[in-house]
């Protein structure tokens, strides 16, 4: 079997190109990349505030600036990859050369720079985080694109994407497991440093294994959309605009998972409880996702989204009313229950995005998947940036106390107002503000009835188009 690039016209061949070790090693690469994301998204804010003693609002601003910059880099990286021509392919060179720097930067993020003055720490924070973001883009854009070119066999491509995504989502929780383990034996500073070292050293190894093994066998045919074209499309397709606005405003519900580490550390005074809050919540969300197909038979996507938003907010309100002067297990169980609708909220917008594609195709004859999902991905990064900024700003407002660097293991007492504030960030604040995400959907008209009509008209158009093309192929003009 040749590993040369196979022309696209031969795509869809039934021949098997991927071996089991391709699935395993590529999934390991996805696991590693997701582990790094899980580590930085889950623990970097608390590391900067509770170990390095940087003021939360300063960290929040850094995240906002860096993540928006990072989000804008993705399409640029897509263009660079698209124009790359090497004998190893378009994507693999970036993974080969980017893996080790990515690992080193991950370690540098968690280096306890306690000897630096405040200005030095902030400069170090900006430099390392922005470089980490760039390295992450260099790694993740090609890594996400690799399965699509690994095999001409459609089935194999779908399988490797599915398997690697599942393994990747497990990888994202690996930081949680490491934290729960290390926090039992090590103080805070050493826990985060050890996590950074473990993931920073192992991740490049797994990434290199994955990319060394897998080959690029077909040339990608889809043009990478330019971000400016994406914004033009966004303002033309008002249904997609309403959906993106709603998805953007739904970042408030992510405050819940971001606040867990603060809740267990400062309210229940045991960082190792993190796993008992985060893992059940993640599992509950996955369980909630399973209800999506059944609910889709009874309601349309918009109804499911609105109902899930209200149910999630109501459940968070109950957690708030019960309060935190109860055993931690009670809060953990209630919170896991509150996370059930989140599974639906994670998957339904994807269905709605596809509906906007159908709507636009029916209206204009054009189908813009590339732009749609590029913008959905950008929205994800911008939402993450806003989430971190709002969390940091709220911690500052609630007077979160940061440690003095000149005192060993300084853990300043958090005021009752601060602890109440942390619990509010975990419950009532996302409960109230997440409801805002429903407002843009007032302008989203693609309900069940409308989509049924659009689907019918689209099917007729596609059928007519297919007949025309078939007859053309046979030499007849229709």
């Amino acid at each position: 079997m040749s590993d040369a690039i196979i022309p696209v016209r031969d795509a869809g061949l039934q021949k098997k190109y991927l071996k089991p070790k391709d699935y395993v090693t590529f999934s390991m690469a996805k696991f590693a990349a997701s582990a790094v994301i899980g580590l930085t998204q889950g623990y970097l804010l608390i590391f900067y505030t509770s170990v390095l003693g940087v003021e939360p609002v300063t960290v929040g601003i850094m995240f906002l600036v860096a993540k928006i910059f990072d989000g804008l880099n993705d399409p640029l990286m897509g263009t660079i990859v698209d124009r790359t021509k090497t004998r190893w392919g378009k994507m693999r060179p970036y993974l080969f050369f980017g893996a080790v720097p990515f690992g080193i930067l991950t370690i540098l993020l968690f280096l306890p720079t306690t000897g630096m003055n405040a200005a030095g720490k902030i400069i170090y924070m900006y430099i390392t985080y922005i470089l980490y973001g760039i390295a992450g883009t260099i790694i993740n854009v090609p890594l996400d694109g690799l399965p699509a070119v690994a095999s001409p066999n459609n089935e194999e491509r779908t399988k490797i994407i599915s398997v690697s995504r599942i393994i990747g989502s497990i990888g994202e929780q690996s930081a949680l497991v490491l934290y729960s383990l290390f926090a039992l034996f090590l103080p805070m500073k050493e826990t985060y440093l050890t996590m950074g070292l473990t993931i920073g050293i192992l991740a490049p190894v797994f990434m290199l294994l994955g990319t060394f093994n897998i080959k690029e066998r077909i040339a990608p045919t889809k043009e990478v959309p330019k971000i400016i074209d994406g914004f033009k499309y966004l303002f033309l397709n008002k249904q997609f605009l309403a959906l993106i606005a709603s998805m953007l405003l739904s970042f408030f519900r992510n405050l819940v998972s971001a606040a867990i580490i603060y809740v267990v550390t400062y309210i229940y005074s045991k960082g190792s409880l993190n796993i008992f809050f985060a893992l059940p919540g993640a599992v509950a969300a996955m369980v909630g996702m399973l209800f999506a197909p059944k609910l889709k038979k009874k309601m349309d996507s918009k109804q499911i989204f609105i109902l899930s938003t209200f149910v999630h907010s109501a459940a968070l309100l109950i957690v708030y009313i019960v309060g935190f002067d109860v055993p931690w297990a009670v809060t953990a169980v209630l919170m896991a229950t509150a996370m059930l609708p989140v599974g639906l909220l994670n998957v339904v917008p994807h269905f709605m995005a596809i509906d906007t594609l159908d709507y636009w195709e029916e209206k204009t004859g054009k189908r813009q998947e590339g732009i749609t999902f590029a913008l959905v991905s950008l929205r994800g990064k911008v939402s993450s940036a806003f989430k971190d900024f709002v969390l940091a700003a709220l911690l500052s407002y609630f007077m979160f106390a940061t440690p003095l660097q000149s005192i060993n293991k300084h853990a300043p007492a958090q005021l009752e107002f601060t602890k109440s504030g942390i619990f509010m960030i975990f419950t009532i604040i996302p409960a109230a503000l997440n409801l805002i995400s429903v407002i843009p959907l007032i302008f989203y008209k693609l309900d069940g009835k409308t989509m049924a009509k659009i689907t019918e008209r689209l099917s007729a158009k596609r059928a007519a188009s297919y007949i025309g093309e078939t007859n053309k192929a046979e030499g007849e003009t229709v």
């Binding site: 003693g53 940087v54 003021e55 609002v57 300063t58 929040g60 601003i61 906002l64 600036v65 928006i68 003055n117 405040a118 720490k121 400016i228 914004f231 033009k232 900024f389 407002y397 609630f398 007077m399 106390a401 940061t402 003095l404 660097q405 000149s406 005192i407 060993n408 293991k409 300084h410 300043p412 007492a413 005021l415 009752e416 107002f417």
Partner: protein, 336 residues
């Protein structure tokens, strides 16, 4: 035309990002009303004639820290595990006009022959306790009556009562007066590290943190002028950190010259008030003891001393106030 529109949108986004950065950097929007609020609440407290409060105090003292030689238990010649002494104390106070009532419940830890706390586990996490002592003070019509564990020990005027002479040193330590008055003493401006205030619906929350340094007496023994030590904690004298030559930097960069000091005292007071009336006080006190550890440098075999500061005392005190209203009646309990 469309290009102009997108350029405008980009410009708005960039300006917004810059505005956010500037906002964060200058701290705009965070005004400090601490001293204004403090004065208001103090006036209201001092003029109130009826109220009650309950106070819980949790303290932890690293009893086997060698303060004289400045060595932590783990760095002693014969290494020791930390022995944290954690007695329990609660205090209740009721004021009704000129009369008042105070109740102090103190539970000390059991001590071994060396005066260290006794623990029921090998990790020294669970101290053993002796029986509690309950002291009650009735100040009625200008006369004080004191009982301890139900037995009267004093009946006379307020000024003549000597707790230590009566055999109850702990009463002398924590006082039998209105302890909450201590938390309305003005903070020394040179000791204030930060002060913030926030409004949360009908509540005002304002907090002030101070630092004091206990200088090495020997350092000043060579005729160097010792600044005024007007912060007292447990009988020890602390200089407002702003006046000490053994510190450098400010805010997050505050650092201490641990070799030349004995300890650092940190006190944080948080007041919560509603409509100018105090409802809760939280008081956090920590002492960080200077200490050193010897280690050998691998590359030249030289022994070096590394100086640093570690927590050797911690206390958390919460005071919750009640005032007479339709649901609450302030009454002094009957004599017992």
């Amino acid at each position: 035309m469309k290009k102009m529109r997108y350029k405008k949108i980009l410009a708005v986004v960039l300006v917004s990002v810059c505005a956010v950065i500037l906002f964060g950097c200058t701290g705009a929007g965070e005004s400090d009303n601490f001293f204004v609020k403090f004065d208001e609440v103090k006036r209201t407290f001092e003029s109130a004639s009826e109220y009650s409060y309950e106070m819980t105090i949790e303290t932890a003292t690293l009893s086997n820290y060698d303060a004289q030689n400045r060595v932590l238990p783990a760095n002693k010649t014969v290494k020791e595990s930390d022995k944290w002494d954690r007695p329990l104390l609660s205090y209740k106070f009721i004021k009704k006009g000129a009369d008042w009532y105070a109740e102090l419940v103190f539970t000390d830890t059991k001590k071994d022959e060396n005066g260290f706390p006794v623990f029921s586990d090998k990790d020294n996490n669970r101290p053993e306790y002796v029986d509690s002592m309950t002291a009650k003070f009735f100040f009625l019509s200008g006369s004080l009556r004191v009982s301890v564990n139900g037995s009267g020990i004093y009946d006379g005027d307020l000024e003549s009562f000597d707790a230590e002479q009566a055999g109850y040193e702990i009463i002398g330590c924590y006082g039998f007066y209105n302890i909450a008055e201590v938390y309305f003493e003005e903070a020394n401006a040179n000791a204030v590290f930060f002060s913030h205030s926030r409004k949360w619906f009908s509540k005002d929350i304002f907090v002030c943190s101070t630092y004091g340094i206990k200088e090495r007496e020997a350092y000043y023994g060579n005729g160097v002028f010792l600044p005024s030590a007007d912060i007292l904690s447990g009988g020890e004298k602390y200089i407002p950190y702003g006046l000490s030559p053994n510190k450098e930097g400010a805010d997050e960069d505050l650092r201490f010259d641990w070799k030349n000091i004995d300890s650092v005292l940190s006190e944080t007071r948080c007041y919560t008030a509603k409509k100018g009336v105090i409802t809760t006080i939280e008081f956090y006190r920590e002492i960080f003891g200077s200490n050193y550890k010897k280690s050998v440098q691998i590359w030249n075999n030289n022994e070096v001393e590394t100086w640093s500061g570690d927590g050797v005392f911690k206390s958390v005190c919460t005071v919750e106030f009640k005032y007479p209203d339709k649901n609450t009646n302030i009454q002094i309990p009957p004599l017992s």
